[in-house]
């Protein structure tokens, strides 16, 4: 053990959990994706995701409370949610195959599978658009998480 400066790692995730709303322009510029991909992604989000996750990624009302049917509502995709905590591979799989909270009282996929509706590039595009809704610190965290779990190689093909 070499470093005995007692340096404290603190506040990274405190800074991540801010409620600052990123503008399309600022997030788009910082996300690294090309404008055409982001425009496609936004269009896909509006058509397929907004009805559950909110037009601005704010999530369903009372998204943290289990519904009367015993299901967890659609969470936010913006900086107030937790989408940014997951690697690209995880997010891609959820969009492609769907997901349900294992403690839901119902068996259905509350997050539908879009693998038959969206092709690989479209799934990646909508995820890249969602990243524009995060803070720079959240994008940095998610990028680091994705280093060991990137998008499937096929999704990176033009």
């Amino acid at each position: 053990m070499a470093d005995c400066r007692g340096r404290v790692i603190s506040g990274l995730l405190a800074a991540l959990a801010v409620t600052a709303c990123d503008t399309d322009g600022e997030g788009a510029a910082a996300s690294g994706a090309d404008p055409a991909t982001l425009a496609l992604g936004k269009a896909i989000y509006v058509e397929h995701c907004a009805s559950c996750h909110g037009p601005n990624g704010e999530g369903a009302p009372d998204w943290e409370q289990i519904t009367a049917a015993g299901e967890m509502p659609a969470p936010p995709h913006d900086s107030t949610g937790h989408t940014w905590r997951h690697a690209d591979a995880v997010l891609y799989q959820i969009v492609e195959q769907g997901w349900r909270d294992p403690f839901n009282r119902t068996e259905r996929l509350t997050m539908p599978a879009f693998g038959d509706t969206l092709d690989r590039s479209e799934i990646r595009a909508v995820l890249e658009y969602i990243k524009t809704l995060w803070t720079p610190e959240q994008r940095q965290f998610q990028k680091a998480e994705s280093e060991g779990a990137p998008y499937p190689e096929a999704a990176l093909q033009p």
Partner: protein, 294 residues
């Protein structure tokens, strides 16, 4: 009445002396004398048949399911400051982590020498937990800040979130399938049991065992059958067979302050406020003194 955790002595000289000694090249451990007698703060199953028992000023090891104990050498100044939690990392068979007002210290030689984390938590951790499967991932809880994660066996820490409502008394990681990440965290709190995926995507009450009337001091998971969760406190020992959604009262062996499960043998261990170590071979329905086990 909740167990009163020892007041963490926040004396700068103590912390600085410990830090200096540890940074200088490790601090030697000194074994306690006698046998464990005080309130059990924490219990950990190190390997099949091997337990670690934490008291406020001592750490003990058993290789015969709690029938007999030997003291694990610990730094005298850390013991004087008071321990709060113990964890057994998966990366080395002889590694142990201790938490207290001094921060987090680690041994890799069963207590012969101890060193501090290179990068400290922001405050003294009251709870430590090891990942169920990963050899490097650890968790710590600072009541003033929240839940931290280490990806390098405790050498550095990152704050993940503020934790569930209430104060965490015990934390355990589960490899129960269905998480968006690698598993789940279950926390025994003064407001019941809470659970979260280990991506820290939000804490939720763990089923029915929630509310201020369900304060819990201990929680453990059977890693061989991770849908089996146990929680304990003054009200008794509760069990769940569905990952913590429904619970039932199993038994009332006294004020349970610590729980641990040996998945390989199916033995459930409990530590109590009056210093007893108990074992159950019927999943918490009945208990025997571990001293009579082996």
């Amino acid at each position: 009445m909740m167990r009163e955790r020892s007041t963490l002595i926040r004396t700068a000289p103590t912390v600085l002396l410990l830090a200096a000694a540890a940074c200088a090249g490790g601090e030697a451990g000194v074994p306690a004398e006698g046998q464990p007698e005080g309130p059990v703060l924490d219990l950990v199953v190190r390997s099949p048949g091997e337990l670690l028992l934490l008291e406020e000023d001592g750490l003990w090891s058993s290789r015969d399911n709690g029938a007999s104990w030997e003291a694990v050498p610990v730094p005298e100044r850390a013991a004087a400051a008071g321990f709060s939690s113990v964890a057994a990392p998966n990366d080395r068979p002889e590694a142990i982590l201790l938490g207290g007002s001094f921060g987090v210290i680690r041994t890799e030689d069963r207590g012969a020498s101890w060193r501090s984390s290179e990068e400290r938590l922001s405050g003294p951790p009251s709870v430590l937990a090891a990942h169920a499967d990963s050899v490097h991932i650890l968790f710590a809880y600072d009541p003033a800040e929240g839940v931290f994660r280490s990806d390098d066996s405790g050498r550095s820490w990152m704050m993940m979130d503020g934790g569930p409502p209430g104060e965490i008394q015990s934390l355990v990681h589960s490899n129960l399938p269905g998480s968006m990440n690698t598993g789940w965290l279950y926390a025994a709190t003064d407001r019941g049991v809470a659970r979260a995926m280990d991506c820290f995507c939000g804490w939720r009450p763990s089923g029915e065992l929630t509310g201020e009337n369900h304060g819990m001091l201990a929680v453990t998971v059977d890693l061989e059958q991770p849908e089996r969760i146990y929680a304990g406190g003054q009200a008794g020992v509760f069990g769940s067979d569905d990952g913590g959604t429904t619970w039932r009262l199993l038994s009332q062996p006294g004020q349970v302050t610590a729980l641990a499960t040996d998945g390989s043998s199916g033995i459930l261990f409990a530590g109590t406020a009056d210093g007893a170590v108990l074992s159950s071979r019927d999943r918490g329905e009945t208990w025997d003194s571990a001293a009579g086990d082996g």
